[in-house]
Subunit: 337 residues, 2 copies
Amino acid sequence: MVIPGVEVSLRRHPGLRVVLYGDEKVIQPLLERHPLVKARSSLVHTDVWVNMNDKPSQALRRGRRVSSMWLALEAVKNSEATVAISAGNTGAWMAMAKFVLNTMPGISRPAMAAIWPTSRGRSIVLDVGATIGADAEMLVDFAIMGEAMARSLLHIDRPTVGLLNVGVEEIKGVEEVKAAGRMLRNSQLPIEYYGFVEGDDVGKGTVDVVVTEGFTGNIALKTAEGTARQLASYLKAEMGRSLLSKIGYLLARGAFASLKEKMDPRNANGGVFLGLNGIVVKSHGGTDPVGFASAMDIAVEMASNELVQKIAADLASKQNLMELNEAIEQPKTAAAS
Amino acid sequence: MVIPGVEVSLRRHPGLRVVLYGDEKVIQPLLERHPLVKARSSLVHTDVWVNMNDKPSQALRRGRRVSSMWLALEAVKNSEATVAISAGNTGAWMAMAKFVLNTMPGISRPAMAAIWPTSRGRSIVLDVGATIGADAEMLVDFAIMGEAMARSLLHIDRPTVGLLNVGVEEIKGVEEVKAAGRMLRNSQLPIEYYGFVEGDDVGKGTVDVVVTEGFTGNIALKTAEGTARQLASYLKAEMGRSLLSKIGYLLARGAFASLKEKMDPRNANGGVFLGLNGIVVKSHGGTDPVGFASAMDIAVEMASNELVQKIAADLASKQNLMELNEAIEQPKTAAAS
């Protein structure tokens, strides 16, 4: 599905060129069947590739310097490519991306951002599983990176940012989330901080960027995907149960097609690794050409809008926030002693 | 909505009697309009009640010994009632329940369990927000309590139990979840431990009981509720967009009614506090008589099936697990040194 997906995306982006890394015995015959891809890509043969079941540590050991993943990332590092994309093993891709590209100055751990369809349009949710556990400063970093991504990808001038929590009152939630909320509220960062949001705010589109730690974010994302599939299968079963409902379905098939399009997970395909010195995108492994092209579109959009440069500029002003925050925390300590 | 809801539930449970706590000036006129409730209930007047915006600490201070919440819980403590139910302030209800009834021997912190509609039927998910943060032993306690609830409420002989995690491989996830997984796998507890499950397994009904820490559980629950509402509103908008789809909707209205029934949040209304010396149920505040009756049904069902006794019996055998686990951990430490 990669080569046909590349073809779809190349048609949409006339200036785009692609470098393909992998086994030429597999790829070359596909290129013969997709002349547009053949004309606008170059192929770098690799004997080694990472398998879906390899552990990240295995992949790093075996795939170092020689695997298709490694070489694709090195192309970004050496500015031969602007963005690297893979539909392979997520853990290995993340580990290798971190190893080859390194985290940006001031970023301790990267995040994976998802694009979440909402009632108002699209929001960005991060982290959805790159990093398990996050302290307050890491959550602030996620806010900075997600906000820059919203400007680059969703073209919102002043995206709103919310921290995912179990209640909107200031008193609730875990200590790290509360501390991150204080830091964002008191910061001079050019971030439109909204406050705490709850699980049901994500689908409402209450904010443009939802910030959370990776364990919770991953579970929220997969729970929502599961709920959507569950309701779609209820609907399908109900519409096929009687002759009347089948006729009703046929008459309303335009509406159902439009609903299906809205719920199509392929439109939101593409996890984006943030916090690295380069743009790296992960496509779902189980997608089809349309889904892979959608992940490529995201990559192209962010590369054209200088995502990494936007994040770097924001991180430079983060130091102010940290100093300010220390200044705020100090009197409290004094009062307590 | 409480009094009409009580009426619905009294009709369904011929042996049920109810004690109402609250302001008689408000309740008495309602009883005149609901003679069935009047005939099968007694009313205890209180001058003090907890407001929806009271903080738990405020509620405990102001409502101690005199509020309607307190007196309802004390009735359970004194075995005058088998179960206490409220549609009021969740945090205050939980704090007061813990204060009045205390946690069961061996339980450090209580949990709130939700009943989650799945493609296979219903599952129990806990904790959905009673306790923020949980260590491995608390997660094992949640597994024990949720399993007993599945037997009492869902009438499953050997409910399967899964730990919510970000991946099914043994290597993934937070340390507490991994440790709880080892404890459940190696325990001699009569629990059908399935292993790790992911967010999308909840809606699939992969297991009967899903165990997680309260922050993540609350966010997963609200995210799923939000996704369901989002899709329902998409569907409604699409079906009203054209004449054909409106006719289709009319023809298939039986199917839509059945779908609506399946998705009706009132059917799964009722959070259950587990780990206290008594059964305590929380109804959604924003529900209607049908929803409140559904929460009462859950309470009645669990009281009839001796939930607290079942949990107590399982906790008694937990000590075995802890000892066994220590025995397993020791050789590892020796090998590492």
